[in-house]
């Protein structure tokens, strides 16, 4: 019976609901923009990781190595794009 019960998925589901509730708190409680954004970013990234590992089975197949390599590549390029954009449009903006 234990093998039939998808414990990992159920806990993953509960955990993702908790993360959603935490993110939602930003709306209901009066907090500074910096705190709110930190909570958003943290919960969003943990949420994405939970989805990938628990529900999209990223660790379960033989090619998990290539899946994670692609993923890290994507994260790297996304960071370059985001911070490069901020560099051009905000930090380095002189007019």
């Amino acid at each position: 019976m234990k093998e039939l019960f998808p414990a990992k998925q159920v806990w993953g589901f509960v955990f993702s609901l908790i993360l959603t509730v935490v993110a939602l708190l930003v709306y209901f409680f009066n907090m500074s923009k910096a705190t709110g954004m930190t909570i958003f970013i943290l919960t969003a990234f943990i949420q994405a990781a939970v989805q990938l590992v628990v529900f999209m089975h990223a660790r379960e197949t033989d090619d998990s190595k290539s899946i994670f390599m692609t993923l890290y590549g994507a994260i790297f390029l996304a960071l370059i794009t985001v911070f490069g954009t901020i560099l051009c449009m905000i930090w380095g903006w002189s007019y």
Partner: protein, 652 residues
């Protein structure tokens, strides 16, 4: 009338009216021809529903040639307008529309599908596969591209063309300055085609990683396959940015959001930023497969193996990563601080290093080789010096301080044509000739092909080298006329003559195809007319449906060459039944619905857009529940086909 008046052209001219008539007549002729010769069923079952990578490749090729014609006509009209000072041939609005559509058509609907044509046709053959990893997805890719391109192309007869440049910068592209529907066409047409391209990237990445013939390790892949692999990776990482930027732009135009507005917290230059985050990798999506094609052609016609295989691969991987670090060099003059510009100046100049390595590798490949001056080789040899000039002017443009002088001048126009024409266009024309016997089973006429090459090369030099000079003298791009006192007249006249020579070259290319269809012998010598080196030449011309009757065994880099001259055994074992995918009308029907959906969005016809969207989801749901296990080709059938072609080892 109120409903239909939206379809009228805002700035009609006799040229547009005559194009409308020409399009109408052509459509009627095609319908009449298909009916008269009873080809509707053939068209549907052979082409519209096909999932065969070879046929999809050929359809890409035909679309690319059509779009080359359309973009070329735009180009000649532009050069004719600028040939003499104060010319009245086109008004400013018409000129704006022409240079905008010329850019989009040439980059996205000519160069991209041409590259896709060769990738589709050649890559599965080069790796010894029977098809791509997801054949149905491949058909969807093609039809989405085709419908996106068609949606974009009808803009000039229904509703008006986009006129904000191929980069469509906001705020100019916003509703305030571009009130008519042209820019909607831009946003939605490119969006639909872009989704198709993204799927192609995923498809080819999977194909190349998972479906190589036994023994073909990554470092034994032919160079074109390597370039297709690297290109697919760039597509996967770059195209989502375009998708998002286009959605934001569409929302700004259709639903009055404020992403790229100048007021209410919008950021107009963010469009330019996002556009080039995609746009610069896009340049490499075009040029890397071109490099791959040259790396196939040059060793074949020098009778030597490719010099510096590892450094070729390394420089391509390096370029693919670095292509994401340079995009700000497209807007050095936007207003960011000097240190930001310096960072992107340096990253841009660094890209010249791996490219230089590749140039030297090609030169060393030819060194002491026995060179045959065929049409593909002429294009490759012409490419090296001309592309190098383009690359050097690129390094000039990369110097951000000096860029304040060049920015938005004809110097820039000369630079990017100087890399794209000798780089991409020469590659696809050369490779088109090279792979023509593989695609169609007969050779293109060499004599006419050489004439076309010389017309194109001389025309290119005449058309674009004068622009370097007028650009440095301050002639701005995208301006429809100039005064006589500016002194730009004579050089622009030379440019016009060059453009005319290039147009003649296009006519000659079409004539070569026509002449060769009529006169070329159909029996290509031993399936291997060029004495080539890689696996795609080990099968028959034209290629049978299943590509290889027996999956080849690979044990070296130049598999086919070693099989021919060093006695390696390619095809071991007996025939077995072959599993192939079934044809499907799904991709075509879904893409047609995409077209209707896009058209409805362009004109804000909401009920039609909603119906279209529902239709798209119905197609997806249908596919999800469809049971389709493909079909088998029996051993008897393979034997019969192989007997007709002369057996698997006919080339021995």
């Amino acid at each position: 009338m109120g409903f239909f008046s939206r379809f009228l052209i805002p700035n009609p001219s006799p040229v547009i009216y005559s194009s409308m008539v020409a399009i109408g007549v052509t459509v009627l002729l095609i319908i009449f021809g298909l009916t008269h010769f009873k080809k509707w069923f053939y068209l549907w079952s052979g082409w519209l529903t096909t999932v065969d990578h070879k046929r999809i490749g050929i359809m890409y090729l035909i679309s690319a040639l059509l779009m080359l014609f359309r973009g070329g006509v735009d180009a000649v009209m532009m050069r004719a307008q600028l040939a003499v000072p104060d010319n009245k041939l086109l008004d400013s609005q018409h000129y704006n529309e022409i240079f905008s559509t010329h850019g989009v058509v040439m980059i996205l609907f000519m160069a991209m599908p041409y590259i896709m044509a060769l990738m589709n046709f050649v890559v599965p053959l080069q790796i010894g596969a029977r098809d791509v990893a997801f054949p149905r997805l491949n058909a969807i890719s093609f039809w989405l591209f085709f419908m996106g391109a068609m949606l974009f192309n009808i803009s000039f007869v229904i509703g008006g063309s986009p006129d904000a440049g191929w980069s469509s910068y906001f705020p100019l592209a916003g509703n305030e300055f571009s009130p008519h529907v042209g820019t909607n066409y831009y946003m939605i047409g490119i969006q639909i085609a872009g989704i198709g391209t993204l799927m192609t990237g995923i498809n080819f990445l999977t194909t190349i990683l998972k479906m190589r013939a036994p023994g073909m390790t990554l470092m034994k892949m032919p160079m074109f396959t390597w370039s297709a692999l690297v290109t697919s990776i760039i597509i996967i990482f770059a195209f989502p940015v375009l998708t998002v930027a286009l959605i934001m732009g569409t929302m700004d135009r259709l639903f009055a959001t404020k992403f790229f507005t100048m007021t209410d917290g919008g950021m107009d230059m963010l469009w330019a930023n996002l556009f080039w985050v995609w746009g610069h990798p896009e340049v490499y999506i075009l040029i890397l497969p071109a490099f791959g094609l040259f790396s196939e052609i040059i060793p074949t016609f020098s009778r030597r193996n490719l010099y510096g295989y590892r450094s070729m691969v390394a420089s391509m991987v390096f370029i693919s990563i670095y292509s994401f670090f340079v995009w700000t060099h497209h807007f050095f003059t936007m207003g960011q601080a000097a240190y930001v510009n310096s960072i992107f100046s340096i990253t841009t100049m660094v890209i010249a290093i791996p490219t230089g390595i590749k140039i030297f590798n090609w030169l060393f490949t030819m060194w002491k080789g026995r060179i045959r001056f065929t049409v593909p080789m002429l294009y490759s040899i012409g490419f090296i010096p001309l592309f190098t000039i383009g690359g050097v002017t690129g390094v000039m443009l990369a110097m951000s301080a000096a860029d304040y002088q060049y920015h938005n001048t004809m110097f820039l126009v000369a630079h990017f044509h100087n890399v794209i024409i000798p780089g991409v266009v020469f590659a696809v024309l050369g490779a088109g000739t090279y792979y023509w016997p593989k695609m169609f089973g007969f050779m293109l006429n060499e004599r006419i092909g050489k004439w076309a090459f010389w017309f194109l090369t001389i025309g290119f030099c005449l058309a674009f080298f004068p622009m370097y000079i007028t650009g440095l003298d301050g002639q701005a791009r995208r301006i429809y006329t100039y005064s006589e006192s500016s002194g730009f007249g004579p050089l622009n006249m030379i440019s016009f003559i060059g453009a005319a020579l290039m147009a003649i070259s296009f006519v000659l290319i079409v004539y070569t195809i026509y002449y060769s269809i009529r006169h070329a012998p159909r029996d290509v010598v031993g399936d291997d007319p060029w004495d080539a080196r890689s696996l795609e030449w080990a099968t028959h011309n034209p290629v049978p449906e299943y590509n290889f009757a027996i999956i080849p065994q690979v044990n070296s880099r130049e598999t086919f060459w070693d099989a021919k001259y060093k006695g390696h055994e390619l095809f071991k074992g007996d025939y077995e039944k072959i599993h192939m995918p079934n044809n499907s009308g799904g991709p075509f029907i879904m893409s047609c619905i995409f077209f209707v959906f896009g058209f409805a969005l362009v004109f804000s016809i909401w009920f039609l857009a909603i119906i279209g969207l529902i239709g798209i989801f119905v197609c997806m749901a249908h596919r999800s529940f469809e049971i389709d296990h493909g079909h088998y080709i029996s051993v008897e059938e393979i034997k019969a086909t192989e007997a007709k072609f002369g057996g698997v080892n006919k080339w021995k």
